[in-house]
């Protein structure tokens, strides 16, 4: 029903089409991901942004089949892997990796670093003996650690160093695609930039394709070529991040961007303060899921699920009122919308 990318052109590595994931919970069914579609082109970084309950983490894990999808297609390099048997999936597991948010819980405390990194090398039978040792030393060097770190345990490292180890583990099997799930959110501010630069360098050095999940909007703007804005499991807006950030078309994107605090006390604050809380995903609003908090909501918004319609080259918005000029103006009559200017 949404504007799913119809065919996957050659430069598209991953095409998510109508992806749905439901969970059974006490009290009902949660549609954590509901008809989500987007493409990730080879060698690019696509950002998934959204607040709690937006489904961004579930999408990341479903794409890797760490969580089984309930519906829809996950077309990876031309093959729909959504229903692939585990045996056939194995070849894809080496090509797709994940970096987790929490560098403390994602490394086994009883394993030495060489075994944490080496485990995947062994699983896929990629190197043995001295070749394996060399490979681990090379991976450690790639992420800015020393060869002697291989014999140590996770507790001997700081949070930033552990995240480097997590990245080295992901790179160990020479993947082409990595899901990075909030990889810098748990790190101190002064260390975040080190890890972001590392991701940026490795992406260029290896020509990696990344799905970057984050709630920090400035980090996504900085790093990502394209962005997918999610709310309660649905895509609100997606497009080239330059365009989405400069001229957001969906009222939710506008509100989200305007709510992010800017490190400049003199910056104008044309803020859209949303009323109320994010609704429960067990009982989402009818029609547009954002309508209960939307400053532009009309009666019709409760009736239909807005389709994700194109508004520009690869830029799409799910809002039935997106073409009405007063949507922006109503929020901030003077400024004509909360579009920010760069400092």
């Amino acid at each position: 029903m949404s504007a799913a990318p119809k065919s996957a052109p050659a430069d598209v590595l991953l095409s998510v089409q109508g992806l749905t994931k439901t969970f059974d919970v006490r009290g009902g069914l949660v549609r954590a991901v509901d008809d989500v579609s987007f493409d990730v082109r080879r060698g690019t970084i696509v950002g998934l942004v959204g607040e709690s309950g937006s489904g961004k983490t579930t999408i990341g894990r479903t794409v890797l089949r760490l969580v089984e999808p309930s519906g829809g297609k996950i077309v990876y390099d031309g093959v729909d892997i959504a229903a692939l048997p585990e045996g056939a999936m194995r070849a894809y597991r080496r090509r797709m990796q994940i970096v987790f948010q929490d560098p403390y819980s994602s490394l086994n405390p009883r394993m030495r670093i060489e075994d944490i990194i080496g485990e995947a090398i062994d699983t896929h039978g990629l190197a043995r003996g001295s070749a394996r040792r060399d490979r681990i030393a090379d991976l450690l060097a790639r992420v800015g650690l020393a060869p002697e770190h291989a014999r140590r345990f996770p507790h001997e490292f700081s949070g930033g160093q552990r995240q480097r180890i997590g990245i080295a583990r992901a790179l160990a099997v020479e993947p082409e695609f990595i899901v990075a799930d909030e990889p810098v959110s748990a790190l101190d501010v002064s260390v975040q930039a080190q890890v972001l630069n590392l991701i940026q360098d490795l992406q260029q050095a290896f020509g990696l394709t990344l799905l970057f999940i984050a709630h920090d909007l400035s980090v996504v703007e900085y790093l990502c070529d394209e962005v997918v804005v999610l709310y309660l499991g649905r895509v609100m807006e997606r497009g080239p991040s330059r365009q989405v950030y400069a001229a957001p078309r969906h009222p939710y994107t506008q509100a989200l961007l305007s709510a992010a605090p800017v490190p400049d006390p003199r910056a104008p604050r044309n803020r859209v303060v949303l009323q109320g809380d994010i609704p429960s995903p067990i009982n989402p609003p009818s029609g547009c899921v954002f309508r209960t908090r939307c400053p532009s909501a009309a009666a019709a918004c409760a009736e239909v699920v807005p389709p994700l319609d194109g508004v520009g080259p690869s830029h799409a918005v799910a809002c039935i009122r997106k073409d009405e000029p007063d949507v922006l103006a109503r929020i901030h009559p003077a400024a004509g919308g909360p579009t920010r200017s760069s400092p």
């Binding site: 930039a193 800017v262 994010i278």
Partner: protein
């Protein structure tokens, strides 16, 4: 940096809070001074291990052993104009200050909300602890507090248990609890860090509005420089247990006079900043290394091992000195920053 002394409601002077673990001493807070003016918001900024939370727990006298205040003064000016040193106040008198004069809110609302009592009961208990009012009066006031923090259907919500509320709503309930006795100082320790960005915006707006209406002073502890720019009048930057820079918010963001503050601002992406902007050459400027452990601090300037400006002189500990009018810096080379 701050209000004139006669307008000050709280003056922290050379505060030292240490944790003595056998032979090891963690100097979590070591020589911290700053002043909070009436009706002003002072942001205390720092990363993990900077001592920002220990500073606020010291002011509240909520330190858990082996943590204790080993030096310095925490001078609080009471409503009658008398100045009392909270660092040395007997616990019995401190109980009259805590909650009534100075209240605190936390990152995680369940730190201060009891899961076994309704939100209304907890706000009423706070009021009746400090003021001789009837249960009916306390309930009416509790309802007004929930209305003040914009909790819808306040009368009904009084009978909710904390788990029945959403994260943002619980944060509001905690603020209502903290403000129930109309404190003159509110210490807010990372109150929006666990919240979604649109809910964070609501809570920041609420705190600003409440300050304008109630005139309280706020000590806002955070690691987020964006939030600092939004809410602070004055800023105190902490690193490894010490204040490294302090200034009015505009002065601090206009020109940093400590390399750490400058480094912090340089390593966060700004709106409009993109890695591919200049032929893919844009990079963030990280601060190398990691925050030192407070049990093993360098002898001189704690930041020197990570500092691009470090010279031999930095092996001597630098004092916190005026680098410009109202702008303090703990750096030998503040003129070169």
């Amino acid at each position: 940096m701050s209000a004139a002394a006669d307008d000050a409601i709280l003056r922290v002077e050379n505060l030292q809070t240490w944790f003595e673990l056998g032979s090891r001493v963690a100097k979590s807070v070591d020589d911290v001074s700053f002043t909070v003016g009436r009706g002003r918001t002072v942001a205390v900024v720092g990363e993990s291990g900077s001592g920002k939370s220990v500073t606020s727990l010291s002011i509240m006298r909520l330190l858990a052993p082996p943590g204790r205040i080993v030096g310095g003064r925490i001078l609080y000016r009471t409503a009658t104009g008398e100045e009392i040193d909270l660092a040395r106040l007997p616990e019995s008198r401190m109980r009259g200050v805590r909650g009534r004069e100075i209240a605190m809110i936390f990152q995680e609302p369940m730190t201060s909300l009891n899961p076994l009592y309704t939100v209304g009961d907890q706000v009423m208990e706070m009021i009746r602890l400090h003021e001789p009012v009837s249960a009916g009066e306390a309930r009416a006031r509790a309802r007004r507090m929930l209305e003040l923090v914009e909790i819808p259907a306040a009368e009904r919500r009084l009978d909710d248990y904390p788990h029945q509320m959403s994260g943002g709503m619980r944060q509001r309930a905690m603020i209502a609890l903290a403000l129930a006795c109309n404190p003159r100082v509110l210490i807010a320790d990372e109150p929006t860090t666990a919240l979604d960005v649109t809910i964070q915006a609501q809570v920041l707006d609420l705190l600003r509005r409440l300050q304008a209406e109630l005139g309280m002073s706020i000590i806002f502890v955070t690691h987020n420089l964006g939030v600092v720019a939004e809410i602070a009048h004055e800023v105190v930057v902490m690193y490894a247990g010490r204040v490294v820079e302090a200034a009015a918010v505009n002065d601090l963001f206009d020109r940093q006079r400590h390399p750490y503050t400058k480094g912090l601002l340089a390593c966060i992406p700004r709106p409009g900043m993109r890695r591919d902007e200049v032929d893919g050459q844009v990079r963030l400027t990280p601060i190398p290394g990691t925050v030192p452990s407070v049990t093993a601090l360098p002898t001189g300037c704690s930041f020197a091992p990570r500092c691009p400006l470090a010279v031999a002189k930095c092996e001597e500990p630098p004092p916190l000195i005026p680098a410009a009018p109202g702008h303090l810096s703990r750096c030998w080379r503040h003129e070169d920053v």
